[in-house]
Every structure is written in structure tokens, then in C-alpha cells.
Symmetry: C2
């Protein structure tokens, strides 16, 4: 069986025939004709998607004949390009539609999808299909939707050899054996998935740019990368590249990559010119510099602003941008050095540079100060650089959150970060407002995230991990959406409208992050994972290493003192009241206690439990929760696709066994270390 | 510069001109003529080695003219093949020379090297050169030397892709890119080194036989392996192959590898026939079966005897043997299972099979029950299988003992094992007598060891690690040799006769094993290493894994209870008095305490220290000892080859830094865990 025909490949865009007869008949009155008069590529794509989907749903292929009889139709187009579309809206209504936004409206027998750009029309088309598939009635349809964020990026950590850094769903869909894959049909299907949730930019290679990928900027690779850009363009997605800061040396043969050196600047300008020759709407560069052994401006006594601005200057004439990652810390820290605190690093490195970056530079800041842990506080950089563009970076691929073998729906985690009130401009200064640029009035902003897809037939390995990709896109479009609303949308589109299926999966997804947290990393401590691959428990795995990731557990207590009074002072990187709240163990929320404070095992949490008893209880409960997940899943037998059911079943069984391993390693470790027995006398080995 | 011309390549066989004029003149009277009348290949090799070396030493090339004038000569040959040789000895003297043995004798102006075989003559030649080089006077020369062990094997863990499992000195000298190397001159130089210390068998491929090496038994590889065998044959060394027990399936296309299946037995017989067609003196097979995921007879409900005997039957007609490894344990043990004890495994698996193995099967038993740890007790299998042939296996490559970056002269460790009195037949039942077969009157026995060489110019990476290869061979020939005597021999042959050089290096070598033990693994506990690569400290690295390697440290104490009364019962696998001695913490020697007992940190050792204070003290002292090593080495500047000096210096610096890492990780771990402070208030992080 071809991969595209296998279970899960269609993801949330599956086109099974609609079973609700009312719904089918409500479609037929307007959906038998689809009128798209403009030649814009995204509008053509929108018309194609609508046509194919409606055909599959109803069994009848819409035509494109303009209804002479005043009958209904589906009309799609821009206000500027299509007078019939424009005539359905007032001036005020039209001007309310921002770039990429759209309006959907019922007008008599017809439905209208309107945008100010072709891309907006495409998003409107996917929105309409989503509404139908999730069972919305369209009689009173009148919807305006603008994306909250200008940049809605996805980062692929794919390498040209076909491997994927932190990929858990097979090999790359973009590359194999040192080349872009010859057949881009799967890339196109990925573009559909991304466009359907509003993604408008893709970085097609790993932020760790190795020797070979450095040459992506050359004619060796650009023709085929341009082919990929063409595929994405049809779905409104601009292509970006991760670059190697040392490319002028490694590829250009220069003696230096000093960003203030004229020859270097010229070299980059020439490269950028070449790239735009092949890809006229190229998005720009993503840069991981001076981070984890990657080269950067520090080598030449320059700073991040020097480096980023040089690239930005080269890109500016073409409308390109520089996305500069802030994941910068001393990754050769000596574990014996108790003064250096990795959590502080991004803030300490970047805040002094506020205002120095060009307007087409945007800093990409991970949601937390460490590295995509199950639980960590938000990065204090959000709210600390009012004169700098900023993107928030999430990790859809589940590096530290179960690697798509465990279920972990991450939208609730992301929501917590987005809703965090930095107080940078007083109350209401949420991180989502920093990211979208509104808080500080920045011209650029948005979301970025590391993708979780590979060439597994179902894209994400774990069939339910698709929800994270879906949710990421939806949240990038509208951070106000609730996590459960997103989950429900995804479930209905993916599995249909069976009530038990919806309720079961919704409950499973919504409980899964807390569940994963419960049996892995207690109270915000993080990093108790096996080094390198990061799968499975190893409490001391990063304790005596150079990565700046410690818990300092001894026979009395555990945690990192990041207070100002007695610790590393990290707490002061937040605005009040957070800086004060995190300063004291009494006011720090339980779930972050060990991130901010070193406390005795007998310290009593707000929950009323001691730290040690919390550790024991949560780990025992975590296994029970995993068993409950598997039981819930069993209830879906016969109600969902058989193959998907079996995929999920085997992963959930692995989750149970692995949750036991987590439970027992963590409990045994702390029992041995603390000497404090479980109050309930359960088995600790 | 060619590799063969680089420092260290000559190892202990360097041929620098002799500087002692007396010595040169004492040579010239007999060494100007070398008479070797037999055509035996080993005797030709002996003549060649003697000629080349004496030429280099004296500046004059010996001729082979029989002295007509009654003047001196060097006459070499066998008693049977050369009447002049035979006439120098009585019947009794001749019959005292066993296979591979030799006599050296001064006879008037001449020197005679005599053996009962060509191989014996070759060993005699190397022995004579060693005597001269180590400054012995030959006036009264009259030496008889017989090897204690019939089998003196070296195991290469080389793979055909050129990698070496647990190799720390570069890539393979045998293979590159899937082929035997085209130029075998380095293999020949290795054969010289091995023959010079009496090695008589080499297993040329890794015991873990992968897909490609399985085909070594086919014509795809046999022609080139036969070329290697030819090279080794000239130096008296038989070639052996490691085989894949599942070869009948993987290579032969059979449905089974069941050793009792007639088709399987026939397949092996055919393969053996083919091998002997190419290599008439082929030594036999080395087999790692049912061990660490390797296939074996268990799959078919058969036992090790069934498996080994099937192969032995195929080899017997040609004089080949089966070397069957006893490194068998449950490598998927659950760490939560406290009943299974890996230390027991080999004994429990093999002792029930005593008497079942054919006479041309020999079991290869690692020196200790675990896996070449810095310190472990001897394997109780020695002395437990009186009706079975047995080899003792050592690890010359320093997997757990510093990986040839740290100095660790292992001969003292091996001596301890060999001198261990099993009491199997009452007092004096030492392991060396088990290995050589004399204790139980076994027809086969001896030594095997994993080599430490690679394609580094100096063979072993660390220049002083050559001493381990040298020492292994010497000990296999004569286990009675003292460790310091072997070291001194090696130093003199390698570095010359400068008194300060000899004293310094002797002190460094002799202290190095205890030193490495002091800052790594305290009191026999073992396994506190980083998983997989085994370099550097990770106290819990193997604590929660499936490998059966635990220390059970908690906040009160540490160690594995292997007593009969309260533990796994492993202590009972020894004969009395050891079983009784190891049963109690009071009578267990300090250095093995934690191997046999779980004790509180406050337990007082025979040394008078508590366990915890011993841990602290030994680790602080270990760093000082490493610094002392480097200082001693500095004193050799100008006295030894400059390149070797620099190689050693850089390794010794790394040793210091790494000893600090060991010290700090181990001390911090136990301080945090026990809460007991260092009595001397030194820095623990």
C-alpha cells in the first residue's frame, strides 16, 4: 500500500464522505458551484482544495459556472480582485481584514470567502472546510478572522542525509542520501497540512547546519530548494534557510567570518542575491550562532547584534528577515562551578543589546530559559527587550516529553506560557502580546516551533501526536483559542463526530501533559533524563556534566537556589510581582519550586504534602494514569480506524511500561538518598 | 614520515646500535656467524631476526659460513634436524624441552639455540636477543625454557570495517573499508612483536561477529585471511576465527542453527573443510554464544556443550579446537530484581556441564566474574570444572582501566589472579595451575587476552601501554615471572639501560594500577563508569540498567551483599577457605569489601579508616598520585625519545585532569548521599 493511502496520512484533512445527510444537503445548495476568478496561486490552491474536498464529501464535483439563475454558489476571492466578493462587504468590513486574514459570509444562497490577499482566501477556504467538518451550521455564517501573529513559522531539524535531529517519526520527508527527494508530493501534502492551520513560513533545514547543508546557499542545492519553495508557495508558505555563520570561511574560502569585515559583508550580499535569484519570495535566514559549538560573531569579538545586522542588511533589499536564536549559554560549564546559572544566560547575553537590532531582525526565544523541559518557567527575555522584535519558540517534536511514544498534548503547556503576564507594561502584558509585537509596538513578531513530522505514514509516529502540530498552527493564528477547543476541533476533523470518540480522546489529550509531568520530572526540577537521546530516567544523567543542568539533590534536599538573596539571582530577571514571588519558596508555585529553590525533602508544599511524599505520590499516580489512558483507548476499539487503533495501543502499552521505569528509578533514587519512607508503604525498590 | 619510522613503532624490538662496548665485543666472537641448516619456516624467521638485529647492533652483518677454524658461531636448530645442535645436549637435556620450549647454551666459542620444534627455536632466538638487550652476560649461558601454557592466544576485537571494539589506539591494522588491508607488512610487524613474547595463536576478528564478518568462513574472505595466516605462520602463530553461531542461517540459508540438527552439523563440517583448504594449520573457532544478544544453542533448547561439541567435532579431524567463552549472563536483567546476581552467572551456567565438553573444546573464562573491572575477585569457575579444559582471559586493552589515556600497568592485576589459590585440590591449587591444565591434568589450557593495538604509530596510543602487551605474552609463557621483572625487561628493551629511566619508569608502572583504582572504583564496587564507552565517572551510570551491575548506595551505606546468609550466595561458589572468608565483612579483604558486602559508610576497614573516609582519602590521594606520575615523567626529558616524551606528557596531563573529575564526582556523590563530611575538611563540591 502506498504511504499516502495508509492510515493517518490524511491527518485532519481526511475527506471521508460526510455521513450527516442534513449537512450534505445544506452543502449542495451553494457548494455545487465554486467561483474563483483570480489567477493568484493561493486562490487557485484554495479552489482546488475546496473542489476536491467537497467532491469527496458529497460525491458530486462542483462546477465553476457562474449561476445565471440567482442560485447559490461558493465565491472566493480578494476585495481588490473580485468585485462580486467586494460587493458583499462594507468598506469598514473590508478594511478590518488584515494581511492573511479573511471573512466568511453567507449571502443569500451563496457563501463567500474573502481576503485582502490570496493567502487570506486560502486560509478562509481551509477555515470553511474546518467549520463544516466540525459540524458548524452555516446558515448565519459571518466570520472575520485575522491572525494574531505575522510570523507563523515551522522549523524542520532535518539534515540532508535524511536524518532528523530529535525526530521521532522516521526519516526526513525532504531529504534522502544527500539530496532533496526527487518526488516532492509528500512535501506538498505537508504544505497542505501546514497551510490548513495557517503556517506561513518554513525553515527547511536543521538549525545545526553541518558541512553539507552549509552549501544550501550554493548552486549545488539551490535549484532543488527552489523546487521546494515552489511547492510551499502554492500554499502561502515562504521558505527560509538555516545558515552556518562560518559559511564565508567554509564555503566562501575567506579567512574570516567577521561580520564587520567588508569582504564578509559582500560575500553574504552576493549569496543573498543568488538565493533570491532562485527563490524570489525567500523568507530569510534562521541562525543558531555562538551556541552549543556553533560558530558565531563571538569568535571575532563581535556581538549578536553585529552578526544579525550584517545578515539583515544583506536581506533587507529583498524583504527578507533574520531570525536569530537566543539559545545561547556556556555549554562547557564546569559542574563544580556553582556561580554560573544557565537559566540566566539568554537574558544576560541579549538584554544589553536591546535596540541594537535592525527592524528586519527578530529574536527567536524558547518558551523557557532552559530547553523545552516538561516544566520550566517562562523565559524572562519576554518583556525585557521592548526595542527588539521577538518570536516565541516551542518544540512540537517531543524531545523531552516522551518522544512520541508517550502521549503528551502540549497545547496546555504552550497556553500557560502565552498567558503568562510579564507585567513589563503593567498588568496584562502577556507573553502572547510580546510575541505578536503589540505590547511594544514591534513591526515583526510571532511563533516558531520545531516540527514533529517524519516519513512515518501517519507523519508523527504516535497517531495522537498530530494534535500537537495542529494545535501549534491554530495557536499561532489565534493564541486565545482554548486548548480543549483546539483538541476537539482536531479530534472531530481526524476521527469524526462520534460522541464517545470525541469525549474519550479529549479527556486523554487534556490530561496527558500533567500525566507525563507526574511520573517524570517533579516540581520543575527537570533534566533527570538519559543524556544525549533524552529518553527515559537518569536522575544524575546531567548532574556532573558541562551542560549547566543540575538538581543538587543530597541526603537532605533538592533544587536550585535561584533567589537573589542566597542563590544565582535568576529570579530578579522577571518583572515584579514575579521576581518577588519566585524569590521565596513560600510564594513560588509548587510546580516550579525546585526550579527556584533548594529545599529539604520535608518541605511542605502548598498542596499540603512534603516534597518527598509528592515525589512518591505523583510517580505512583503517574503509572495509574498511564494505565487509565490505555483503558480509555481500549474503549475506542471498533470506533476508530483499526490501524490507528493498533498504533495507539502499542504506544500506550509502551507508555505504561516506561512510566513504571520512571516511577521506580525516581522513587528508588530519592528513597535511597533521603532515607524517608513512603507514607503509604508502597513498593520502592 | 612512514609509520614504521615513527617513534614507538619498533616497540621493545628496536634495533638501535648497542652502546656498551664490552657487550658488542662479547657478541662479535660468536655472532659473526649464524648457522641455521633447517628449512623450517620458523627457523628461517629466527635466523632472519637474529641476523637483522645483530647487524644493527654491531654494524656488521653475520655470515652463514660454517666456522672451519673451530671459531665461534651462533648455531640454531632442532635436536632432530641438526646433529650439531643435538650433540651439545644429553638425551635427558633434550627430552626436557617440551613443545615450543628451547635451550640456550654457551658451548666454547659458540652459542646454541635449540628446540624440539622450529617454533621453539624461534622463541629461543627472541629470548637470546632479549638477554643481550637487557644486559645479561652470556659467558655461562645455559638456559632451559618451556612455556607453562600450551595455548597463548591473543584476541583481536577488530571488525572488517576497520573499527575496533574497545580499541584505543586508532583503527584496525588488519582491516579497512570491508577488506583485509592490501599491504600486510604491519601485520607482519605485529606478528614479530607477538612471537617475541611467545604468543602462538591469534583470533583475527571480534568475538561479536557481525553480518559481514560472518562471511569470513566463505570464499569471499578466505583467500585474504589465508594471506594473513601465512604471515603469522612464519612467526609460529596459528590463526583462529571468531564465528557467528547463527552462520548456518545467516550465511548458509538454513532454517535453523540447532547444533543437534544433522543439516547444521553437515554445514559446519563443510565450512571447516573449506577453511582448512585455505589454512592447513588453522587454529580453530572462538565463540561468544548466548551472550549479550549473540545467538547460541539456547535458542534451540540446547546447551553450551551441545553447541561447542558440534563445532569441535567438525574441527577435530584437522587438529582444530573450539574456544568457547563463558561470558554468559542475563544482560536484560531488571535492576529491580534483587535475586539475580550477574556474578553468579558463569558458574551457574557452566559447572553443571563439567565433563560434557569434548577434549578439543576449551572454555575461555574472564579473570573475574563481572567484566574486566579495575578490581574484582577471581572467577570461581577456576577450580570448579575439573573435567573441562580452561583458558583464562585477560583484557590488555584498557576498557575499564583508563583506555590508554591513563597509565595502568596491568601485570600486577593479572598476577594476583594467577596466584590466587582456589584450594580446589587443597592448598597450592592456584589459578595458574588451572589455566595451564596441570591441576586437573587437562590436555588443553592457557591464556587468552584482548589486544590493545591499533594503527597508531606506537601501536597502543599511550606509549607505556605497550608494557601490557609485552607483559601479557611473557606471563602467558611463564606466570611465575614477577610483575616488576617483566616491567624492567620491557623498559630496558624499549628505552635502553639508563639507570634513571629504568628506575623512574619501573616506579611509574608498578604504582599505576593501584593509583587508577584509588581515584576510580573504591573497595571493589566497580561499574561507576559512563555507560557504553566506559570512560569517566558516572556513579549511577549502571545502577538502574539491565546489565546486572549495581552498587546499591543509599544514604546509609553501599555494596552488594553476596553472602550466603543474607545475600545472593555468590560467596559459596568458591572453595573453602575463600567461601568462608568472603561470607563475612570482617574477613573479606578491604579491596573487595563492597563487592561482597553492603556496609554502612561508617564501617571500619582493616586499614582503620571508615568506608566513607577511605573513599574521600583515596580520591584525594589519587589526584596527587597522578600529579606525581607527571612529575616523574618530566624527569625523563632528554633521556628518552622526544616524540615519545611528548606523547606521554600529554596523556599524563589528561590523566591529572581526568583524575580530578573522578575525584570530584565520586566524592561529591558520596558526600551528598551520606551527609558525612571529610575528616580533613578538603574541598568537596
Amino acid at each position: 500500500m502506498k504511504v499516502a493511502e495508509q492510515a493517518g496520512y490524511d491527518a485532519w484533512l481526511g475527506r471521508r464522505a460526510l455521513t450527516d445527510k442534513d449537512q450534505v444537503s445544506s452543502l449542495t445548495d451553494w457548494a455545487s458551484r465554486i467561483i474563483a476568478e483570480e489567477s493568484d496561486e493561493c486562490i487557485r490552491t484554495a479552489a482546488y482544495e475546496l473542489t476536491e474536498t467537497i467532491t469527496a464529501w458529497t460525491g458530486r464535483r462542483p462546477d465553476n459556472a457562474v449561476p445565471a439563475d440567482g442560485g447559490g454558489c461558493l465565491r472566493i476571492g480578494t476585495f481588490q480582485g473580485c468585485s462580486e466578493v467586494a460587493s458583499a462587504f462594507s468598506e469598514v468590513e473590508m478594511s478590518a481584514v488584515q494581511a492573511d486574514g479573511f471573512r466568511l459570509r453567507r449571502a443569500g444562497q451563496s457563501i463567500i470567502i474573502a481576503g485582502s490577499t490570496g493567502r487570506g482566501v486560502l486560509y478562509g477556504a481551509f477555515a470553511l472546510l474546518r467549520l463544516i467538518k466540525t459540524g458548524e451550521r452555516l446558515n448565519e455564517l459571518d466570520e472575520l478572522s485575522n491572525p494574531a501573529n505575522g510570523l507563523r513559522l515551522i522549523n524542520e531539524w532535518d539534515n540532508v542525509d535524511g536524518s532528523i535531529e530529535r525526530g521521532y517519526a522516521g526519516r526526513s520527508i525532504f531529504y534522502a542520501e544527500g539530496e532533496v527527494v526527487p518526488d516532492l508530493s509528500r512535501v506538498r501534502d505537508y504544505a497542505r497540512l501546514l497551510a490548513s492551520v495557517g503556517i506561513n513560513g518554513i525553515v527547511v533545514n536543521n538549525v545545526n547546519v553541518h558541512r553539507e547543508e552549509t552549501l544550501f546557499l550554493s548552486e549545488r542545492y539551490l535549484p532543488r530548494i527552489a523546487d521546494m519553495a515552489n511547492v510551499f508557495r502554492a500554499y502561502g508558505i515562504r521558505l527560509y534557510l538555516s545558515i552556518n555563520f562560518a559559511a564565508p570561511i567554509e564555503m566562501g574560502g575567506l579567512a574570516t567570518a567577521d561580520p564587520l569585515e567588508e569582504a564578509v559583508r559582500t560575500w553574504w550580499k552576493d549569496r543573498v542575491k543568488e538565493v533570491y535569484k532562485w527563490i524570489p519570495d525567500f523568507g530569510g535566514f534562521l541562525v543558531k550562532a555562538d551556541s552549543e559549538f556553533r560558530p558565531g560573531p563571538f569568535t571575532y569579538g563581535r556581538d549578536h547584534a553585529d552578526g544579525a545586522n550584517m545578515l539583515a542588511e544583506a536581506l533587507a533589499p529583498y524583504g527578507g528577515i533574520v531570525v536569530w536564536r537566543c539559545f545561547v549559554y556556556n555549554c562547557k560549564q564546569d559542574w563544580r562551578d556553582r556561580k554560573t546559572d544557565r537559566a540566566r544566560a539568554a537574558y544576560d547575553h541579549f538584554t544589553p543589546l536591546d535596540g541594537r537590532f535592525r527592524d528586519n531582525v527578530v529574536l527567536q526565544v524558547k518558551n523557557g530559559p532552559m530547553d523545552f523541559q516538561v516544566r520550566e518557567p517562562v523565559s524572562p527575555l519576554f518583556g525585557a527587550m521592548p526595542h527588539t522584535n521577538m518570536l516565541i519558540e516551542f518544540q512540537v517534536t517531543q524531545e523531552y516529553t516522551g518522544q512520541q511514544r508517550h502521549l503528551c498534548y502540549l497545547v496546555p503547556q504552550w497556553k500557560e506560557a502565552l498567558d503568562f503576564d510579564t507585567h513589563a507594561r503593567g498588568e496584562g502584558s502577556t507573553i502572547k502580546k510580546v510575541a505578536d509585537g503589540s505590547l511594544f509596538g514591534r513591526p515583526l513578531g510571532g511563533f516558531a516551533a520545531v516540527s514533529n513530522v517524519g516519513d512515518d505514514a501517519n507523519w508523527t509516529g504516535h497517531p495522537l501526536a498530530q494534535a500537537n502540530l495542529y494545535g501549534y498552527g491554530r495557536l499561532a493564528w489565534n493564541p486565545e483559542l482554548a486548548a480543549d477547543r483546539i483538541a476537539e476541533e482536531w479530534i472531530k476533523q481526524t476521527f469524526g463526530d462520534h460522541d464517545r470518540v470525541i469525549k474519550t480522546l479529549l479527556a486523554m489529550l487534556m490530561s496527558s501533559w500533567s500525566l507525563y509531568e507526574s511520573y517524570t520530572s517533579p516540581l520543575g526540577v527537570g533534566w533527570m533524563v538519559k543524556p544525549n537521546h533524552h529518553y527515559g530516567p537518569d536522575v544524575d544523567g546531567y548532574e556532573y556534566s558541562m551542560w549547566g543542568t543540575y538538581h543538587f539533590a543530597d541526603c537532605y534536599g533538592i533544587g536550585v537556589d535561584r533567589s537573589v538573596r542566597t542563590g544565582t539571582g535568576y529570579a530578579s530577571q522577571y518583572h515584579r510581582p514575579h521576581s518577588e514571588r519566585f524569590e521565596s519558596a513560600e510564594t513560588t508555585p509548587d510546580e516550579l519550586l525546585l526550579f527556584f529553590h533548594h529545599v529539604p525533602y520535608t518541605h511542605r508544599l502548598h498542596s499540603g504534602k512534603t516534597v518527598i511524599q509528592h515525589i512518591y505520590d505523583s510517580h505512583f499516580e503517574g503509572v495509574k494514569g498511564s494505565e487509565a489512558l490505555a483503558e480509555q483507548w481500549e474503549g475506542l476499539k471498533g470506533l476508530i480506524d483499526h490501524d490507528i487503533f493498533e498504533q495507539g495501543r502499542s504506544r500506550l502499552q509502551e507508555q505504561i511500561e516506561h512510566a513504571k521505569e520512571w516511577r521506580d528509578v525516581i522513587n528508588t533514587y530519592f528513597w535511597r538518598k533521603s532515607g524517608i519512607a513512603d507514607e503509604h508503604g508502597r513498593t520502592i525498590y
